[in-house]
Symmetry: D3
Subunit: 327 residues, 6 copies
């Protein structure tokens, strides 16, 4: 736990660890990875693909925990340093506030986005057994107010923008099919009210190499003077299964469905034991970033092998350069 020690002095900041000597990668892993394993939550099969935000002087998060029935649900969690987490043993029971919503069947791969003073959680939600984008908001990470699903099935990886675009809420998502979807591109949609969605636009399609099979938005996009920094995952189909890596692109600030930069290289690919070996081999799947623009720091939370939660770091300026393809 030496790594955690090093971090103490940065207690009020986002988690951080300097780039290891000799390393020239834009993104580097936390030395204390994985930061969360199934051992942390009683009766849990695995914890991964989870989202965190700064909250109340520390951090709060929503965690994907698969039970021993292999049913994925969301759990809230809290942390003072962003590294050591106290995850609630009970899954979030969403409050429907009297609305007649379709019942919660399963929930996975959450993202969190602070918007108008509310923390909006989006996730992959089952409706009649098919995946779509579930939505809820909370102010305290104790009570979560579920809202209407954003889209029709089949959809996954719904990621909100942290402010309105031209007066409307905006979300990225990845239309899918009802299985281990073998295709997938990122689309953009708008909403006047977080209930009804429309004005759908293609943002970008799968490409080659590590992102040849499908792509999906990762953490909430980070607004920079150069555009929206989008970290996204990509999938390659090998003859022993899918390989999930992640890279970055830059979207136009005002018309975020326009891609103004995109790097053909990945930022991180599964290469450590905890990324290569687990319930699903060869997966790194980013769901959240913490960033401190003034310190030029980004902490990326990602799932490893669909089994554990991991952390990686980067300098924001380097990420932006990378995403613009300057790399």
């Amino acid at each position: 736990m030496k790594a955690a020690m090093q971090l103490k002095e940065q207690l009020r900041c986002i988690p951080w660890e300097d780039r290891p000597e000799g390393c020239s990668d834009v993104v580097w892993r936390f030395g204390g990875n994985p930061i969360l394993t199934a051992q942390s939550i009683p009766g849990c099969n695995s914890v991964f693909n989870s989202a965190v935000v700064p909250f109340d002087g520390g951090f709060a998060g929503v965690f994907r925990c698969d039970s021993k029935a292999r049913l994925p649900l969301l759990h809230a969690g809290f942390s003072t340093d962003g590294i050591t987490w106290d995850v609630q043993p009970e899954a979030i029971m969403f409050d429907t506030d009297g609305q007649d919503l379709p019942p919660l069947e399963y929930a996975y791969d959450p993202r969190i986005c602070l918007l108008d003073g509310r923390y909006w959680v989006t996730w992959c939600n089952g409706i009649a057994g098919e995946p779509t984008i579930g939505m809820a908001w909370t102010k305290d990470f104790r009570t979560f107010h579920q809202q209407e699903n954003a889209f029709l099935p089949h959809n996954r990886n719904g990621v909100l923008f942290p402010r309105k675009i031209a007066g409307r809420y905006a979300m990225l998502s990845r239309p899918s099919d009802n299985n281990h979807t073998a295709f997938g591109d990122i689309y953009y949609s708008e909403s006047p009210d977080m209930v009804y969605w429309g004005r759908h636009r293609l943002v970008m399609k799968r490409s080659t190499g590590w992102q040849a099979l499908k792509i999906g938005a990762g953490p909430t996009p980070i607004e920079t003077p150069d555009g929206w920094l989008l970290i996204y995952h990509g999938v390659l189909q090998s003859c022993s299964g899918y390989v999930y890596s992640f890279g970055a692109a830059m979207l136009d600030l005002d018309q975020p469905w326009k891609v103004i930069g995109r790097n053909k290289k990945y930022l991180l690919a599964p290469q450590r034991q905890y990324e290569r070996v687990g319930d699903v081999n060869n997966v790194v799947f980013p769901c959240a970033c913490l960033h401190d623009a003034s310190a030029d720091r980004v902490a990326i939370y990602y799932g490893g092998a669909d089994t554990v939660v991991c952390l990686a770091f980067a300098h924001l300026s380097e990420l932006v350069d990378f995403a613009k393809g300057v790399d």
Copy 2:
């Protein structure tokens, strides 16, 4: 009910042919089938899966015509009797009225719905090569005003309700994948403004027999005192390909996502040469109904074998009984 009002003056004019002697089927075919073939449109490969409405004392329609490049587009057409049609040789060029909409790539399987004095056309529309629900309105079937696509891909068989439900526009659709989708259920969505859609609900899932693989809404639902009469197609997968038949269900008037009746039998299955043999064998695919409630008559327009347009008839009261499962 305003729409129905408007139709009163046309009471005597929907196409009709009495049930043949000895026939006890709820739906029977027009003796002059097919009513439209590729010969009717110059340079056309096929014409099928088309929609019609009463218009200007006669009828107007939007027709799916596949070119000899096998590119499907929509053509407007007019008729005085609903049987002999004058289809425009040029495909509809949609007017975007200055909006920056994704370009039209292809268009097929139209439906028409009179709503607030506008004829709304919905169809399967390509966005970035993937199918979703295109929307446009016209008042004269000469100028068509294209609007935003209703949903994200992949979707087909978008069918509007002919009046608002609880103050909002309502549409049925069939989420799909990007291919000859091997699954498919009918969902219900609402919109305050025909631009943004939400409050999605499952209506009904595929079932057994002729509707075991997938189902999709057919003509605009017909409002009856007993509920919304929904004629829908179903698909069975045989070892020589898909077989498209159609049947009926009854939806709750106020909460149309609630199924209050559904018949396990089909109303019509491909059995005539023009339904069994064509560009796609064994297809009957209904896209429109004309009905005259006072005369207890319904005329159903359906595509045959993805090649021709056909017509069938029924008594509305018998369709309602059938849909309620009383049959």
Copy 3:
């Protein structure tokens, strides 16, 4: 209907029509085909793949009738000439005689075999939604006594031998999977009591050409001095679906799992409109033979295009030569 006329003089014999002039095929079609269509049974979608036997001076049969829900069930039928059939409008309700058998879910592709004074019907029967071999016996074709299913799923095309082999009942069957099985070979099994089955042996595997994908036993094997004459169907996978033809093999009299003759050619392949066009295109599927060894005549009942019942004829001696590969 001249064909039917010709047959009158043979009223007590099996149906017959001489080989057409100029035809040199071993098997030739009845001029009055199809002999049964859906029109014959009220509310029926189709009637095909059915079995008949001599009964009470005339003939009785068990017919596969698919309802308009596309649910296949079995119907009894009677005929004086084997050509004009009176099929019961109601499906057979099997009598379980108090046994706690799995409930009947669907029933298709029957065969009939007279054994020890009982007419045994075998068919493809659903158990928990999966296909296996259903069994029942009747003495009068009015009351059918259902017995235990012969095998575990997934199995189809169970065909009994008309006498015991080495003191045990014997059946051919075609192990399958739970779908449009893309493989299939013929196996042989024995039973001391028609309840418990064992001593399973491979009889023959799919081969090339018309029988490259899968094969399955057809009518009850015919005992001849040269061996058991087995007419069987074979399937070829074309790029527009499966093609079902039928041919013949000769099995050892005492060890029927030993193939002593097999012809690489088919006897009949789908070539007429009623065999090529229907609910499933390009299918001829034989389920029963009537034979009169003294007259050297065989009448073969087969389904056409999964839609109608057809009849074909052959000389027994020629069939035997063909099956021995002498052809």
Copy 4:
């Protein structure tokens, strides 16, 4: 046989029938189609996808005949008018002239090309059960001299150019897999000696619509002042199987792997009963042309539904215009 009558006066010419009145298609069908059916060859299942050339004052051809074992082999045939054919009842036995060639397993889809005084036949030939391009030459259509296969498996639709290109023999082909290949593009290869092949180049890829799944060269390309006229088949995958149509492209005279024209429309698609219904539904497959440039006439031989041989006509000048995309 009125159609054949009409042709008598053109006895020394290629077959011909004027464009029907009211028809504006570039290619039109012969009124006497199909010109060859299985009835013409004893013991044959079907005859289709065959090639013809002018020969000895009349015409000679190589015909694909599938036996009743569904084994495809090649048969020679002769005709005085190009319409009525005398096809040899026995399949061609290739002479290997003492070479140790892989044994002939099956043979289908022949083309014929006159080169240096020899009629070269190319076909789909089995090597170790896998398809590749078989080659043989004849001077009299009685003795055929088999040569080495041109390529490694898996390949189909090998079509020679009728003269050397830059001093080397040239062939188009369609690399495949070992099944109902779901992809396919046209490549160009050269050979100094008809034994060794190399300098492979892509000519053109599958595209959209009727040619979206795969394409393959059809008849021997026709040299015109504007380039090589290439008639080729294209395949669309419908939900009831593949649909084979044919269209045209124009290749550079000196560098035939360069496409200088290509029409998005098809010339002919399966629309007649004999093209829609057969052993494989919805197939028109061209294998040969006869052309008379001075009379501006082309006769196209094509297979219908993998079952019969058909004939269609066109004016060469119109084909060229079509292929250039001027249409």
Copy 5:
């Protein structure tokens, strides 16, 4: 090897190791896992999915050993403590006692059941290349008497009950297809004589989560006052392949096809390196239990990653509670 030390004092008992401190799982792994690897058998690729029984004061077993040709065969083995095994270097040569049985092609995934003084071995046995349930008995684990295969192909995971049910032998099995079967439910069959089998009943179907794709019986069921305790494996399909876990259900004592308890959670899922990484990743596959009811102890033998043999422990009473769903 400290773990093995601890066990010495329990030499006449079944293997045992107390639940680790802090662990609250119903099933826990042996500290000395894996107990058998390929190194133990000369020329062997792997040893896994094996069965053991108490025998002659110690233990005997039948082990699945895959050769370096990757041919799976069965080897006998002996042990005094149930942990250290002496596996025979030569595969079992079954004695057919003069019966004309289909030849042994391969053999894998054995189970052993003591019945009427004979140790019955059941395994996945090839007949004509297809999997079914092989059967043999031994009294000394030196001579094995092979019997008729129980069922037709395709079947796997045949597991006998350790006593007759209502006077008949009883077996669970998992009907399959001829490949990496993507479905699978547990059925029950009866036999009067261990040769002929019938009276087949569905026991339970695949479900959700870890058992969503298929399930199969594991060790011989353990009779308890509450019912038959059935440990069974379940398979989940991830995007990097199948994941095999195991759980438990409780079957009715007299009608074992009736499920009276079933837990949605797994007992053990692949989480250790030797379960996650091997010839097939992410597999735990139980084939045998030793139990000592008086000591409330169960030792479970399971294969790890299709590569090694492992051992886990549980208290019988807790397993029963778990299986009843009381957990």
Copy 6:
């Protein structure tokens, strides 16, 4: 034998490590494996499946390096001991010497063969996005002269013989499809000039066990008095993906398409962590051998898990015995 001559002076220098004590395997791994990892090449994702030859008193090699875009290209490298390698950071830019060759799209799985004083490199090369056999030669491993691709797509694993056979160059290859090909056999082709190829013959087909799905030639065959020693990879399809092992066969010296020995066992299968866990799990893929016949030594270079380069050793005489099936 000229090539072997040239090597004499290097007799003492191929990498070597004696067989570990207690090991009786024909092939054993180098204790220092892996010898090359991505760390060795800046900006590289992985280095594997690479080829080496004796060169200039030491060794030279061509290495498959996948970039972080997951684009595979070839890099040259040099070594004095064959174990520690200096791989060029820049991919090989092939010199086309003015030929109009299809542009290089990607390049992987190289082999090197010394022929007539030139080092010929063959690799999997993209033409129009499809894989075939790329060819180039070098004399100094600095300038590489690209030549025409040997074959049409789709092909992989092209391996030259190190001398002419009956006066012609000879190559083994593995025809494929355009994906993770699920079939694959080894063929033999000849060329008079390294440009045009023909006289194709099947060498051997996939078989059972570890080589049941597909096989492909590995290193350049080694000439021995007993025949050509061919080390080749084989693939087994497990339910968690493909497993690549390698074994050996012996080909006739004069007619190398004739197999005179083949061992059913593998020589090496993925069993170490660096073979089991990586970008593609469970892969050992041999691309090159160094051998010293007088010392009876062979060093085999193989890729591990599509991630690293590994080394293994054997005695040539034992390999020959193994390949002959004497093992």
